[in-house]
Assembly symmetry: C2
Homo-oligomer: 195 residues x 2
């Protein structure tokens, strides 16, 4: 089936509806029927867009992994201080968590429902990303830009801090997405910094 | 039924096994049968200790809420700087997340399965705790100990940062519970501080 613009949009809508259902009911309890209802399609029409619940989960997880790895690639090549690099990655995490509902599926626990070999592949991508992020933190510690913390503690504290954004953040007049990015990123970078 | 020491211990074991099952399978998918198997009891004997799955969930959620509110009470009365107060609360969060498996149920999403009126009561306790925590942060901003961030952003960033500890932290030689407490707490307090 050729991927037309309209199909793409529909597919993205399906992905988002699926992510919302996975978040609210969990992946195991979500049926193709629930999903069809959520996007107002007949179950039979839904199958024109996707072949299974697992296909959506795979799509979401690998789509997010690729996006993060692509930015990591850019950041690694970037000129600039380690502080700027980590801040660029934090912005990515914050922006993704607030703007893209599907990221919740990949960030949190639903990816555990992938079956093999996809589960191992996805874990390897996460591990790759985490290892490269930690290497940047280690560079900052060696160069004296960052405090002498355990790199793994710093890494996971940053990740965790931005992981629950979807759970409490609702865009508002006072706390816009920009304010959020500056303040959450700023607080964490100041915490990590040596000065 | 009188609460003997032995009963208490058994009950705590049941609570921990339940928390582990809720975390791994989710509350809805966990059966009393699973729980009986996990604590190596016959289902009929399990009912000598607890009357239902919901009773355990309630026990766990309200037990954790009371523990946090009791420490909040102490912290509010404490002499000392706002920085010391927030650090004392962070230590509580970190220690609880790493030492008490049942806290995961209450911190994360399983409490959503409480039924009314318990759900509303539990939400009210959480809200009360969050409000008092935020008031301490606001005091620190007013007094100039903390940066001029949005208090809600600071609050949720601290909470989130320590919420996923159970997910990545395994006590080890290098990263002991004390190192973890000092470094995670230290990073966040430095981030929040004005200097």
């Amino acid at each position: 089936m050729p991927t037309t613009e309209k199909n793409k949009t529909k597919k993205q809508l399906i992905r988002e509806a699926a992510a919302r259902l996975f978040r609210d009911k969990g992946y195991p309890a979500t049926s193709m029927r629930d999903l069809a209802d959520a996007v107002q399609l007949r179950a039979s029409s839904l199958y024109n867009h996707i072949s299974s619940k697992e296909e959506i989960l795979k799509d979401i997880c690998f789509g997010n992994a690729q996006r993060f790895l692509a930015v990591m690639e850019e950041v690694e090549q970037m000129e600039g201080s380690v502080t700027e690099k980590v801040m660029a990655l934090l912005r990515l995490h914050i922006r993704t968590a607030t703007e893209d509902l599907t990221s919740v599926t990949a960030f949190n626990d639903e990816w555990r429902h992938l079956t093999e070999p996809h589960l191992s592949e996805f874990k390897a991508l996460r591990k790759n990303y985490e290892g490269r992020f930690q290497a940047i933190i280690e560079e900052g510690i060696r160069s004296g830009e960052f405090q002498a913390v355990e790199p793994a503690i710093a890494l996971h504290t940053l990740f965790s801090a931005v992981r629950w954004l979807y759970d409490w953040y609702k865009p508002g007049k006072k706390i816009t997405a920009e304010v959020l990015e500056e303040q959450v990123g700023g607080l964490l970078m100041k915490g990590l910094g040596r000065k």
